[in-house]
Amino acid sequence: MTELAATDPLPKPKRDLAPILLPIALALVVIPLIGSTSSWLTLTAASLAMGMMIFIMASGLTLVFGLMDVLNFGHGAFIAVGAYVATLVLAPFAASMQADSLWMNLAVLAPAALLSMAVSGALGLVVERVLILPVYGQHLKQILMTTGGLIVAEQALYALWGPQIIPLPLPASLRGSFIIGDVAIAKYRVLATLIGLAVFIAIQLVLNRSKLGLLIRAGVENREMVEALGYRIRRLFLGVFMTGSALAGLGGVMWALYREQVHASMSDDLTVLIFIVVIIGGLGSIGGCFIGAILVAMVANYGGFLVPKLALVSNILLMVAILMWRPRGLYAVTSR
């Protein structure tokens, strides 16, 4: 330890840049492999959009784990609920969805997304109170309870909406692509990337620039200490849980529009993807989650283009590789 004079500024924590360079390096390495610049650009744009959507869904999960050591295996349920709730708004207003005016489309899409977020956030409140509070601090029971919650939620969705796949066409103004030279970039992907970036920046600002964020970060570091300072970390946690659930709902809407269909089983596949992202990023780290989501999406897109056969297990291979390099994920936040 070096001695510090009282007037010296506190030493800045070292910035760990290697994980940030990883997706950039990956994107550069595949250029010669893909060969054509235009398809590389299209693939990269697709990866970014997909990564942003996964990030939105996964961010809540990783924060909740970091803050309270709670891993919600039923996180996927919020995604599906969000998507289904969106159909409640989008189906009656199908006409204005198909009108070729961006503002009219957004006037329907935005309330739908907000309603989805509200419903999944409220559901998050119920889940936290009913399923997680009673088994607080017991990992095994948490996993079992939240898995039970996932089963019930999925079945309830089937009971309410029926088992068929609900088509959810993209609004007219978001279909098609921007064409720049010989590069085609789907309009919806641009929107998804923008929303994802906005969410990431918002989360980063709240976490790093506000008192609330300070408390959350402090809680991730050392829960007891924050409690000892007189803050009700339980309430803080409830807030984070609801926000995470609402974000999962938003992600669900975006994913459903991306795939143009809604089905209760979408939560199963996405849960796996989200878990991989959260593990890669390091449990509890928002930055790691962001990079992890982009990496997973890149590997899926590039891999699917270059070696389609490998795409099936590419996520697992990526996870193994990252964990070989850093056993606790890209950014290890917690000592747990």
Binding site: F73, L140, K141, I143, I151, Y158, D269, N315, V320, L323
Partner: protein, 361 residues
């Protein structure tokens, strides 16, 4: 006592229920004629063994694995592919076993060494990821696995339904290859459950429980916890693969829906928790309750759903629809984790049954 490895059910009611279940299973071919009853009974046998092996992991070591169906599927597919490719002979059965079991054990070893070093939660996530990748792999490699259709195959001559071993007019009922297969399934499942009972009551099993209660302390006492956990993981995988083999032999088919899907994993979780974690006996009870419910509760719900629809009640017909039976079992699952985490077996042992001196847990 010897055969139960000194770990009797320790409750009169529980003993009675177990005896009834086992006698009913043993006598199913004679008591309940018809293909459905025999199918249900065989499924109970297979799942009792499968769930018991999962109990070794969940109940005794406290680690949640989501890859158990993967091992079950490896067993199923190994025997199915071998019998499909080599024709219905015993050599193919042996090949399936010789390839399937070591493959399952090796994979379990790899997963264990990779992820059991860290917290239970990490293990749960990684097994979930690996299992889903395996599932996709199995449905994509259709030249080998038959893809979504799976593989149907013929059994060796002796085990076919057409093979009459003792004809009907000799003892009053026919004993054919199908009956023989059923008893093969029954006997091997029973042996595996007794074997697991032996494992959990051995010194090794005690160490597993010590790790479950306090891993750090177990390590401080000088046990190599990673070794023990990995070993338990491999054992559970072997039993699961064997159960998969039995299941494939019984169904004469292996496919993604019957042996690999995530819903089977959830079924196993439900069975082990409802039956009672960390008891092995709970596996038999849980599997019986669950599979009986799966096969007979649905028709009951269908009647209730119709009645509700005729009475003009809103929402209820949808909630009571036969396909939604898992909704109610899910609620039961949450309630049982919350209110009686020791399941049916723990409930029976703690109250109602006789208070014979029980080993402290």
């Amino acid at each position: 006592m010897m055969i139960l490895s000194g770990d009797p059910p320790r409750s009169r009611v529980l003993t009675l229920i177990l005896v009834v279940i086992i006698l009913a299973l043993a006598a199913t071919p004679f008591l309940f004629p018809g293909a459905k009853a025999l199918n249900v009974a065989a499924k109970i046998c297979v799942f009792a063994a499968l769930v018991a092996s999962y109990d070794l992991l969940l109940g005794y070591t406290g680690s949640v694995s989501f890859a158990h169906t993967m091992f079950y599927g490896i067993g199923s597919y190994a025997i199915a592919i071998a019998l499909y490719a080599m024709g219905p002979n015993w050599g193919a059965v042996a090949t399936g076993i010789v390839i399937g079991l070591p493959l399952a054990a090796l994979l379990a070893l790899a997963i264990g060494l990779f992820s059991l070093r860290v917290a239970a939660i990490f293990f749960a996530m990684i097994t979930l990821a690996v299992a889903s990748a395996f599932q996709v792999l199995a449905s994509q490699l259709s030249w080998l696995t038959g893809g979504e259709d799976g593989r149907s195959f013929q059994l060796p001559e002796l085990l076919r339904p057409g093979t009459v071993l003792i004809s009907k007019n000799l003892v009053g009922f026919e004993i054919n290859g199908r009956t023989l297969t059923y008893y093969l399934v029954f006997a091997v499942s029973a042996l595996m459950i007794l074997g697991l009972l032996r494992v959990v009551n051995s010194p090794f099993g005690r160490v597993l429980q010590a790790i479950r209660e306090n891993r750090f302390r177990a390590e401080a006492l000088g046990f190599r916890t990673v070794f023990h956990l990995t070993y338990a993981n491999c054992l559970a995988a072997l039993v699961a693969a064997s159960a998969g083999i039995l299941n494939a032999l019984w169904l004469r088919y292996a496919g993604p829906d019957t042996s690999l899907s995530f819903s089977i994993m959830l079924d196993i979780l439900l069975m082990v928790v409802i039956g009672g974690m960390g008891t092995i006996y709970g596996a038999i009870i849980g599997a019986t309750i669950f599979i009986l419910a799966q096969n007979y509760l649905q028709s009951l719900m269908g009647v209730a759903s119709k009645a509700a629809a005729e009475a003009g009640l809103p929402l209820l017909p949808g909630l009571l629809h036969p396909d939604r039976w898992l909704l109610w079992l899910g609620l039961l699952f949450i309630a049982s984790v919350y209110f009686f985490p020791t399941g049916v077996v723990g409930r029976l042992r703690s109250g109602g049954g006789d208070k014979s001196p029980s080993a402290s847990h």
